[in-house]
């Protein structure tokens, strides 16, 4: 899944000028804030997706950049030096083994944090403690930063909603408002289980719409909901999957299940695509290519 995210990023977020890229990144985020601030369900969905993306992007940053993010979020975490690491390496290894995590390697980054800052990790004995400091592994730090990110974004969304309701929606009723309102219903997210189709989208359009506005899982998994015709759906999936899987195998294994989803085979039940919640709760095994891309990359 990590690869998928990387590929999509490459496909959609490449631009000769770095500043343009940054603008696109920032603008798209704020557009999404506006679109997704308006109900509790929308906010919840957006928070999950965006936090997952944040997690992914944070991990990719250099140690320097990560430190900057931590400082920005006012998290008093200091990275452990190589010498310090050597001194406690065996203890860190024990902790990792005790909680069935990957073992620390020579280049593993650990953070030294006052134990008061990480009560959940202390409570679960998921960190090595020494003299009042907890030694937090990178993946644990990511969780903490992501939690902070999520809570900051949550507050921002609430504020945005307030502003939207009080002034923006009215002011923009001839310009942004219809777009904003259309955007969140023409893709999928939480309205999905109701099974409405909001507009037919044909195969050619989907790549464009996907590129510009769909979030990752939707680009991949929600064609059905936007009213893609069955054959188009099969063709689309075949094209995407055959890059990974091979056309023949696709025909045998996946085409069946796509037809099944449309009610043409087997039980003839029209399954609405899994809601995000359901997808998130599925854990794909090694050969699988389903599941929420945000949830399951490592």
């Amino acid at each position: 899944m990590e690869k998928l995210v990387a590929e999509l990023w490459k496909a959609n977020m490449r631009h000769p000028q770095a500043s343009e890229l940054m603008s696109k990144d920032i603008i798209s985020h704020f557009v999404l804030r506006l679109v997704y601030c308006r109900t509790e369900d929308l906010r919840k969905w957006f928070l999950s997706m965006e936090t997952a993306l944040f997690r992914y992007r944070f991990r990719l940053q250099s140690a320097e950049a990560q430190r900057a993010v931590l400082a920005e979020f006012q998290l008093p975490y200091k990275a452990v030096t190589a010498a310090e690491f050597e001194a406690i390496k065996d203890k860190l290894t024990l902790v990792a083994r005790s909680i069935n995590q990957t073992l620390p390697a020579a280049d593993s980054i650990f953070y030294e944090v006052p134990f008061q800052e990480v009560p959940e990790l202390v409570a679960g004995r998921r960190v090595f403690l020494s003299d009042g400091y907890a030694y937090v592994a990178m993946n644990q730090v990511v969780s903490l930063v992501a939690t902070r990110f999520r809570s900051l974004l949550s507050k921002a969304l609430t504020l945005t909603n307030r502003k939207w309701m009080s002034t923006i929606r009215e002011q923009e009723k001839d310009r942004l408002t219809p777009i904003v309102e259309a955007l969140s219903t023409s893709y999928v997210g939480p309205d999905y289980s109701v099974g409405r189709e909001f507009g037919e989208v044909s195969l050619k359009d989907i790549d464009n719409v996907a590129k510009n506005s769909f979030s990752l899982c939707m680009r991949h998994l929600f064609d059905k909901g936007v009213g893609l015709k069955l054959d188009d759906a099969v063709a689309f999936w075949k094209a995407e999957f055959s890059q990974k899987v091979g056309a023949e195998r696709f025909d045998k294994e996946y085409a069946y299940s796509i037809r099944h989803n449309y009610g043409k085979e087997g039980k003839r039940v029209d399954y609405t695509p899994y809601s995000c919640q359901k997808i998130i709760s599925l854990t794909p095994s090694v050969g699988d290519h389903h599941g929420c891309p945000y949830r399951h990359f490592r």
């Binding site: 005790s98 069935n100 009560p119 202390v122 003299d131 009042g132």
Partner: protein
């Protein structure tokens, strides 16, 4: 004057030591307690402790601090007085001597004087809430009743007391080495357990969530009526804290002491209790069979021998199973790892009995325990109320205002309290106060530089 009268009035009772002991076998009675509060209770030390340096003359001292501390009294007829507070050491002494409480509990320091709490809201701006409280632990030997066979209920003896010794060692080491705390007081609860007071500023300012996290860090035993296996150590290795506790304290406690003092494998029932902790039926069946076959043989070493059988079988590698990986440690932990009362530690507003109280059921004084020499502590020789008063009596009158406790067995405890705990604590408080004050001064100076 009052003191002399009180003492004279009781001379006839004290002179005949025999008669005094006949009042109650444990040597506790309310009159003795009254005298204890007149002559022996160390008010000054408790006051200085609870003031944390605010009773000094430094401009940073908060004169309201001591008065915002809650105390509670349990009186003779189980009457319970809560939200008491005192503004000075003399008020404290007066209050205790007047009421003669059977038990004194110490609560948190609140945002305002608890006596004035009704004037404040429960939420919003002007709130009545705890702002500082020591990190506290309460370990009671009755929580080990399912693994101690020598006594049960309120009794405690030298065969099971080592469980308390081990608890002190495990927790104390972790508080110092893992959490970095320095000012830790351990106190005998007077009957069957120990209390711990962590008094660093860092500890007193912990939130409820952080306290709960520390309590959970210490938690291993998840006892309940239903589960057979109450200690479950999953994972491919033990956390370093558990490794240290096992290798430095618990393994030896179990193998050198508990195996024989509790006769852990001496009867079929007791063996079964251990076998139930093994998740692999084929292993427990093998051991059961082996032990049943055993005829009278040598009874001397039966516990040690059977323990070796068990360890060998589990660690031989013949049986492979998820649950077996840490089974030996789990058994040792079940019998010996500290069992804390989680609720006591988790909430800032939880009250705990004050040191130097006298336990009404035993007459014993709640004296400090030295964690470094806790293996030497003997609960059966802790001074009792009647013993102390007899010592006082036989030691002569002395002068009013003298340290009367110095002429009794209590002296050792008070001196230890001062030298090992109070003095280092107050020194540290003073330093903290001065440095905080100086940096504030510096900050305001800096902000005034144009």
């Amino acid at each position: 004057m009052v003191i002399e009268e009180a003492v004279n009035g009781r001379d006839d009772m004290l002179i005949d030591g025999q008669m005094a002991d006949q009042v109650l076998p444990s040597g506790f009675n309310p009159n003795f307690l009254k005298l204890y509060y007149v002559k022996l209770f160390p008010y000054g030390d408790i006051f200085r402790w609870m003031s944390y340096g605010n009773d000094g003359k430094h401009p940073a001292c908060d004169k309201s601090y001591f008065g915002r501390r809650e105390l509670s009294f349990t009186l003779e007829n189980d009457i319970y007085l809560r939200f008491l507070s005192f503004n000075s050491v003399s008020e404290l002494e007066k209050g205790i001597r007047e009421k003669c409480p059977f038990k004194i509990d110490i609560g948190p320091v609140y945002s305002v004087d608890p006596a004035k709490r009704h004037a404040y809201a429960q939420s919003g701006e002007n709130v009545f809430k705890p702002v500082e409280r020591e990190l506290i632990f309460d370990i009671d030997i009755t929580d080990y009743d399912d693994v101690r066979y020598c006594c049960s209920g309120a009794d405690v003896c030298l065969d099971c007391w080592p469980l308390m010794t081990a608890a002190i060692k495990v927790i104390n080491t972790a508080l110092r080495d893992d959490f970095g705390f320095r000012h830790i007081l351990w106190v005998y609860s007077g009957r069957r357990g120990v209390h711990c007071w962590v008094c660093d500023g860092k500890a007193r300012r912990l939130t409820n969530e952080q306290r709960a996290a520390i309590a959970d860090y210490f938690r291993v035993y998840k006892g309940s009526e239903n589960s057979k296996k109450k200690v479950s150590l999953t994972g491919h290795a033990l956390h370093p804290f558990l490794v240290r506790s096992y290798t430095e304290v618990l393994k030896d406690l179990f193998e050198q002491t508990l195996l024989s003092s509790q006769q852990i494998f001496s009867t079929e029932d007791k063996c079964e209790k251990v076998l139930e902790m093994i998740p692999d039926e084929s292993v427990s069946a093998e051991l059961r069979g082996r032990w049943q076959k055993r005829s009278s043989g040598s009874k001397d070493n039966i516990n040690a021998v059977r323990w070796e059988h068990l360890k060998h079988t589990l660690q031989s590698g013949r049986h492979k199973g998820q649950g077996l990986r840490r089974c030996v440690e789990e058994i040792v932990f079940s019998f010996s790892y500290p069992r804390l009362d989680m609720e006591v530690s988790k909430h800032m507003n939880h009250l705990l009995k004050a040191p130097f109280c006298v336990h009404p059921k035993t007459g014993r004084v709640c004296v400090p325990i030295d964690p470094v020499h806790c293996h030497d502590f003997d609960p059966t020789t802790v001074p009792t109320l009647s013993q102390l008063l007899q010592e006082l009596n036989s030691g002569g009158m002395g002068q009013e205002g003298d340290n009367d406790w110095d002429r009794t067995s209590l002296g050792e405890s008070v001196r230890f309290f001062r030298s090992s705990f109070l003095e280092p604590l107050l020194k540290s408080c003073k330093e903290e106060m001065e440095s905080a004050y100086n940096s504030k001064l510096q900050q305001s100076k800096n902000s005034m530089i144009w």
